[in-house]
């Protein structure tokens, strides 16, 4: 009796919940699931912007073509370099900042605010801002270094400099994400083991090595993986600042796919690449999820 009444209520609740979420789910479906399925289907067709229809089924040909692509390895290599460089440097800076902020007691909120500011700026705006700052003749960066008698640098025009400029801008934009995440982890560490370690004879350095690092391991892994996933998808700042150039210096995979679709006009091939990229990111995400749930 009772249980039936309860389950009836439960069913009512569930229906009400579904009704509430339906509009949101519909929008999600339209902007995420539908494009995804469309891309998946398109990746099996010879679908170009000259001939935009699903008439010619080509099976896995698009995927085969992607593997044969001449410059895709270059692009993947640039992406790998970019992801590793920016995430690792962000981690180093973020962790140092988090450690420093963790021992600060006064004006903590003020520092938080400064730290969070770049993160709140839209990536497109970040790209535009830095393009102006780094402008060869008019930018403030070259003016500043000219005051120190350093020759102006062609930040975005020189192949070697451009790659590191993009990395630097990404670090400027994103390191605080890492810092905030790690800071939250540090703040939640128990205090007692540190006291025990100090009495046991540990210096600050051995406390860091033997206590902070092992206890922070889950947070570090989550922070790194999240940033890896985000970094692989980086598009905006490259699109705004370098357009993948000069040459292939900053031609990361997302921009490479974009070019295939809207310059090469070959939507089928671009879709195949997107799906492949999605699978890589998905694998990383699944690992992340598994890891996080295995901690409980």
């Amino acid at each position: 009796m009772n249980t039936r009444a309860a389950s009836g209520l439960e069913r009512g609740d569930r229906r009400f919940g579904l009704m509430l979420t339906a509009p949101g789910l519909a929008v999600l479906f339209l902007v995420i699931i539908f494009p995804l399925l469309f891309a998946l289907i398109t990746s099996f067709f010879d679908y170009t912007l000259i001939n935009p229809n699903h008439d010619t089924f080509v099976g896995l040909d698009n995927y085969q073509e992607v593997l044969d692509e001449e410059y895709i390895l270059t692009s993947l290599w640039v992406t790998l370099k970019f992801v590793l460089a920016s995430v690792m440097i962000e981690f180093a800076i973020g962790f140092s900042v988090a450690l420093a902020l963790n021992s600060v007691t006064r004006f903590k909120n003020f520092y938080y605010l400064i730290l969070l500011a770049p993160l709140l700026i839209n990536p497109v705006v970040v790209g535009l801002l830095w393009r102006m700052i780094l402008h060869t003749e008019l930018g403030i960066a070259n003016y500043a270094i000219s005051l120190m008698n350093i020759d102006p640098v062609n930040w975005l025009g020189n192949a070697n400099a451009a790659f590191w400029t993009v990395v630097m801008v990404d670090i400027w934009h994103q390191f605080s994400f890492m810092a905030i995440l790690l800071l939250a982890g540090l703040a939640s560490l128990p205090r007692e083991p540190y006291e025990a370690a100090r009495v046991d004879g540990a210096s600050s350095f051995s406390c860091f090595i033997h206590i902070t690092l092992p206890l922070m391991r889950p947070v570090i892994i989550v922070a790194l993986l999240l940033r890896f996933v985000f970094a692989i998808k980086t598009f905006d700042i490259v699109f705004i600042m370098t357009k993948g150039g000069p040459g292939t210096a900053t031609d990361i995979i997302s921009y490479f796919i974009y070019r295939a679709a809207f310059f090469g006009l070959d939507i089928g091939r671009a879709s195949a690449m997107s799906i492949a990229l999605l699978l890589i990111v998905l694998a990383l995400t699944i690992y992340l999820y598994r890891y996080m749930t295995s901690l409980r």
């Binding site: 007692e192 083991p193 006291e195 025990a196 046991d200 004879g201 540990a202 051995s206 033997h210 206590i211």
Partner: protein, 368 residues
């Protein structure tokens, strides 16, 4: 082996009142010193200042005559067992024990043999590969103790290490700690608010209240001669009965009137009273165990009382009774003794063992 000396030590957190207020304490080499006091009286703070985990606001702390105020905790070579154990959560038991030794660059084979020996002593050999979260409270406590022991420090600091254990395990660990102290002969400072621990374990007890030391002495000494009302009312359970009263001069003999009962003051108290006290008011203290059901051939003083509550504890019966003036006192009587609640009961107090306190200074009036 070491002597620990506190000179005018104070600790003030932020802008609060002093958590520890100008205390002086000499702990002798190899002594088992118990710090006893109610919650918040500054026991942990004192211990943490000795360990170096808390800065000293004023005063000096010496170990073996060496000033250690500004010496890093790592170099004091003390071992502390924390109130909440504070094991390293990411290391197994063996690694917890080994940590301090590794930092001190003890050779590997020696580390291993010391861990095994300590684990055997504490009965935790089977737990060496477990993580702290896989241990019960009692097991964690023994690991925390092991981590302190294995280091062979100059002194142990225990912060209520037995407070989380069940009664039986606590009794066992009490004896174990005393044995450990006898075997090692290392100086121990043991913080507790448990009466039994204080009475049975310590060479001396230091009773604290609100950041100051009320009395230091051998357990039985403090029990027999509490220096003031606080110590009298804090030590032992049930504690000493404290009854307000006033003196009456009746011819040659000095009498005291407490809660409707008149007692004749023994001569040695009368003398002490004459020396130190000119007021009429006094507080009389009598321990529950100095109250009997028979008069011992008229030597004890009779009190007409009414039974309020009976606590049959097994080994003894605690009787709460009301004096004619309305004051309730407790008496520790034979385990077989029973009386219905509300009934009248004649009890006899051994007045020779009474204590008198000055209500103004709260200090004991010492009999000579």
């Amino acid at each position: 082996m070491s002597e620990i000396t506190l000179r005018n030590v104070s600790k003030i957190y932020g802008s609060d009142d002093a958590a520890v207020n100008n205390i002086n304490l000499d702990i002798k080499d190899g002594e088992f010193m118990v710090l006893l006091g109610p919650s918040g009286c500054g026991k942990s703070t004192t211990l943490r200042m000795i360990a170096g985990l808390e800065s000293i606001t004023a005063g000096d702390i010496f170990i073996d005559g060496k000033l250690i105020n500004d010496i890093d905790p790592a170099e004091r070579d003390l071992a502390i067992v924390f109130q909440n154990y504070a094991l390293y959560p990411h290391m197994n038991v063996a690694a917890n024990l080994a940590f301090g030794l590794k930092l001190r660059k003890v050779p590997k084979d020696q580390i291993e043999s010391r861990i095994l020996k300590t684990a055997n002593t504490l009965g935790i050999s089977e737990l060496l590969t477990r993580r702290p979260r896989e241990l019960s409270g009692g097991q964690q406590q023994r690991v925390a103790l092991g981590r302190a022991m294995v280091r062979e420090p100059v002194a142990f600091l225990f912060d209520e290490p037995l407070s989380n254990l069940d009664a039986k395990l606590r009794a066992t660990m009490r004896t174990e700690l005393v044995k450990l102290h006898n075997d090692l002969g290392t100086t121990i400072i043991h913080v507790t608010h448990d009466q039994v621990e204080a009475m049975t374990m310590g060479d001396r007890i230091c009773i604290m209240r609100k950041g100051i030391i009320e009395q230091v002495g051998k357990p039985l000494e403090v029990y027999r001669n509490p220096a003031n009302i606080f110590v009298a009312g804090f030590l032992a359970s049930p504690p000493m009965n404290l009854i307000e009263g006033s003196f009456e001069q009746e011819g040659d003999s000095l009498k005291i009137e407490v809660s409707g009962i008149t007692l004749t003051i023994p001569a040695h108290f009368a003398n002490a009273y004459g020396n130190v006290h000119s007021r009429k008011d006094v507080i009389l203290g009598i321990r529950p165990e100095d109250i009997y059901t028979d008069s011992n051939d008229g030597r004890y003083t009779c009190m007409e009382t009414q039974v309020v509550a009976v606590e049959a504890l097994g080994p003894e019966t605690i009787m709460v009774v009301k004096l004619p003036g309305g004051k309730e006192i407790s008496a520790r009587l034979d385990r077989s003794f029973r009386a219905p609640i509300g009934s009248a009961l004649k009890l006899y107090a051994d007045i020779e063992r009474m204590h008198l306190f000055d209500p103004e200074t709260e200090k004991a009036i010492v009999a000579r």
